[in-house]
Symmetry: C2
Subunit: 350 residues, 2 copies
């Protein structure tokens, strides 16, 4: 029986949940939900169910904050001197793990997602591990689409997405509206959530083919972590999808699932973590006053009282030195605020 | 020529501009407008144009804050131990002034209003002073209505509101919607802004008739201010309109004006103090980011950045430990927030 090693990718530094998420406070380190649990803590808790060992890859600058969340000393936390996208992070984890366990099976996952049904997820990972053992290929998780989402990449499948395991025909970039509608209607597509399963040996072999400098540097750093600051900055910043998944000759199998997955990619998704009140309002703050308002999402990071009168379907967030007001269905447009602040030289708010 | 004494009533402690105005920070002490001038400072500046001397009546608890605004030592500032509405405040001012100037003409005005056309106001006060000198009556300012407002009391006039001076038939309470429409359409009504002109002697005579204990206490306190804490709490809390204006046999004349008056009674009115941007947004904050939004009013009392995306016609206020979001046309409903906070025992936010 192969031993499973979870690889939790916690290197993100996005601002999609601005103003709560900042450059120095990425999404996975934010306390969210009614229990103020970070997504990273959820990911680690979940990984105990999915794998035997765990490695977390994060930014050097976030090592301390990450270690506050990942308190189990049995979990290895690796730091990247600079962000170099997922291929480099996964190479580093694979090279580190294979030194301990030459037959390791990696279960790679982002740190900043929400999954309601961990048992269902475990069963899907089990299927992928079995498939990978049979074919020495790569297994990817596919999320059965619930809408024609344009914000995710898709997996085009060789058969219907209600199979237990089905071959992947190709990886598809984030589609435009028309393609997203087509994919959603087809029944032959799944969302690419960034989860995959492969042996460390297979993965490093792929990297040797497609990103040899990255594979070599990863092995060198795994042997001597002190070399990371010298070697890491020169690595190509490329995703594992672009570097390997879209180019490999190895078979890729997908386990399509319906496990209550969400990437919490905007404030609108935060509502999934809470039970709304009778008027549909989500109250993620100590003191909220809503008069004649429905379906609002109200967030405050401190004792600030948020009062909303006569407004509905709004996101209202107070976090640190910033306040955001945006309709739920435009929550993605927070990126335009980030761009505007950056353009005005107000990076201190990012 | 009678000497004019402005009486500025600065005893208010409302929360109509919550969360900026609080119990301890009344509207007239808030820095507002592009120059961060308080309405009280504007009132004092305006009173130099309207009168020869000035008395400001405020709460004892606000004496220090008031003196920070009213720096001219020639201006008398009187403190009330407890609020007892306008009749008591005016009685105290009249009794104080008449000791210095038995022939004083009082020009009484609230401290928390905005007037764009001070010259026009001066001409109206001149007419009222002349009328009062002729008839020994009372002169009131009438604001020509610009809408069917239900939030103000009205003056019913004996003639059209475009006269220079016209007799007042009666004082009318805040009307319901139907009556407000009728008053607005009539041309025989003006808003009662709480401004009036009378000699101190006439005013105290009226108070002797209708509120004798108040008149007596006011004279006693004027003679010995140390008696205020003992005498003031027992005074009847009643407005000068109810106590005198609606009951006096003296002639009451109105000077109807169109002087760009506003009582800044809600956040919606704050926009009058600013020049909006090209999209109609009023920016009363250091750092505001508006993406695809029109006609919003954005207020922050510190360096907090306020970002509004895809919303229009909203008021968004960050002040101290509170955030308010309300449509402009419902800005009056902030009182419901105040009531809700009070009901929940969250008076510390008021």
């Amino acid at each position: 029986v192969p031993v499973r090693h979870a690889v939790i990718l916690a290197g993100g530094s996005g601002t999609r949940l601005w103003p709560a998420s900042r450059r120095a406070m990425p999404k996975q380190l934010l306390p969210l939900g009614p229990h103020d649990e970070t997504l990273l803590a959820s990911a680690v808790r979940r990984a105990y169910v999915l794998a035997d060992h765990q490695v977390v890859v994060t930014a050097d600058a976030q090592l301390a904050a990450t270690r506050e969340v990942v308190v189990d000393p049995a979990v290895t936390v690796l730091g990247e001197p600079v962000p170099r996208n997922t291929a480099a992070a996964i190479a580093l984890a694979a090279a580190t793990i294979i030194r301990r366990d030459p037959d390791a099976v990696l279960v790679v996952m982002p740190a900043d997602q929400y999954v309601a049904d961990v048992d269902g997820l475990r069963r899907a990972v089990d299927r992928l591990v079995a498939t990978v053992a049979d074919h020495d290929g790569i297994g990817v998780l596919g999320i059965r689409p619930t809408r024609a989402e344009t914000g995710f990449g898709y997996l085009e499948l060789a058969g219907p997405a209600d199979a237990d395991v089905v071959a992947v025909v190709r990886f598809v970039e984030k589609p435009d509206r028309a393609d997203a509608e087509r994919y959603f209607a087809s029944g032959y597509h799944a969302w690419n959530a960034g989860w995959f399963v492969a042996t460390a040996r297979r993965l490093l072999a792929e990297l040797d083919s497609f990103l040899p400098m990255t594979a070599e540097a990863a092995r060198a750093i795994a042997a001597d972590p002190a070399r990371a600051p010298a070697l890491y900055p020169a690595l190509k910043a490329i995703s594992i999808d672009h570097a390997v998944m879209e180019r490999t000759a190895a078979p890729i199998a997908c386990a399509p699932v319906d496990v209550g997955w969400d990437d919490i990619g905007s404030w609108a998704a935060i509502a999934k973590l809470y039970v709304p009140d009778a008027a549909g309002n989500t109250r993620a703050a100590d003191h909220v006053v809503i008069v004649d308002g429905r379906n609002n999402i109200i967030v405050s990071d401190d004792a600030t009282v948020i009062a909303a009168v006569g407004v509905s379907d709004l996101v209202i967030v107070k976090a640190g030195d910033a306040v955001l007001v945006v309709p739920r269905d435009r929550a993605q447009d927070v990126r335009e605020v980030v761009a505007a602040l950056s353009a005005r030289g107000l990076q201190r708010y990012l």
